[in-house]
Symmetry: C2
Subunit: 226 residues, 2 copies
Amino acid sequence: MTAKHHHEINGSLSADCMTLLEPLLSIRHYADGELIFARGEYKAGLCIVLEGSVKVGNYGTDGRYFLSKVLKPNESFGEFTIFSKLPRTHTAEACGESKVAYVSPGKLKKAIMNQPEIALQLLQSLSTRLHMSLEVMDDIKRLPVAVRIAKLLHELNREAGGLDVRSLSQEELASQLGVSRMVVSSSLKELNQLGLINKAYRSIQIPNTQKLLAWIKERQQIKDLL
Amino acid sequence: MTAKHHHEINGSLSADCMTLLEPLLSIRHYADGELIFARGEYKAGLCIVLEGSVKVGNYGTDGRYFLSKVLKPNESFGEFTIFSKLPRTHTAEACGESKVAYVSPGKLKKAIMNQPEIALQLLQSLSTRLHMSLEVMDDIKRLPVAVRIAKLLHELNREAGGLDVRSLSQEELASQLGVSRMVVSSSLKELNQLGLINKAYRSIQIPNTQKLLAWIKERQQIKDLL
DNA sequence: GTATAAATGTAAATAAGTTTACATTTATAC
DNA sequence: GTATAAATGTAAACTTATTTACATTTATAC
């Protein structure tokens, strides 16, 4: 991919967007594990993670937990409660001490009418996230778990800014991918033996990002993009 | 779900939105199977299906085809090429004689700045589609194929306006769900034996929508929304 | 009508991932 | 340091879906 065409794929809100939204925000603090929104609630509003993280997922009738995504600062959720009048379909909980901003539907819509740049920013975030979501769905359909784990690790590594992925349990990886912990364990063993990762207790290092990426690309099943 | 809260979940563009966008559209006709955009292309632009349908998917390096979605009139695609400057990640092909509208990035952005209502409409479409996509991903993680087929049939049936789903091969269903034709065949057999569908050659009828929905809800694994 | 192509049915062998169960390692609280 | 909890390793039994292979049914072109 040429430099000209290289763009970070990231669904979080840009600094510009945060500046534009700042006057609209009501800020709330949450303790670790505290409920932010529950599945089924009709209270609409855009939420933006400012500090800490937010776990979005659902509890099955049998008590099992299905994780959808762990949101980090500048990531938003709940757009559809504003623009599509749908109820909350996922439960959001603070993951560690967290600071979350809230924007009411009325305020946001009014702001968009006055400052359409806000809309452009939100459109960027939503279109990127839709795109990422569709890509992940494609991956689920065609890639074995080991490759999907490799992609997730690479992604987490990139987001964290090239650092090693500390304090990340295999349980969490499994939850994030929607697979069992056991298959994560054996896949990581495989990646480790190939020298693509260095695994330790609650920690995975990627010694060579390029090498990992090359390994993934070989297994993508579809033609590479430029 | 109360009437007050009932909303059709649908990612397509509203009639209002189509009216707003009308002056911006360049229209093109495509023959059956004709290429609209190929994976990797950088030509940005929003596309809206006006007539016929558009198949969005990708061809694997081994020739296998992975279908993402079949788009029907008033459904759009390619937003992320405008708002996120990403290349086309999927190949779009006409599926039968089709009429597709095209909006250039410049025109669309300018129109949004002048008429922010357009942005609200696009935000609705995108947030709904993101939401639907995340729901499907949840389903993939926790539901057996038979239930996912039932949900897809119910959805197709609803979209088609309560009619039977004609001219729908099991191959297409399999492609859409990303599973093999054989498991679709046996799942349909199961649904048929339960009296939830009537299947025939290239056609599936749903005799009782409520009954099918009830069967699905029993198997959703998570608490029903209201 | 008949031949052909498309779609569907079915079943055995295989593969991938889950579940269950328990051992082992590592961190942390006291 | 030691006890305890959390995380990880591993393997067998099981489940689900794929692959391969072929038979059968249905539509369509001639």
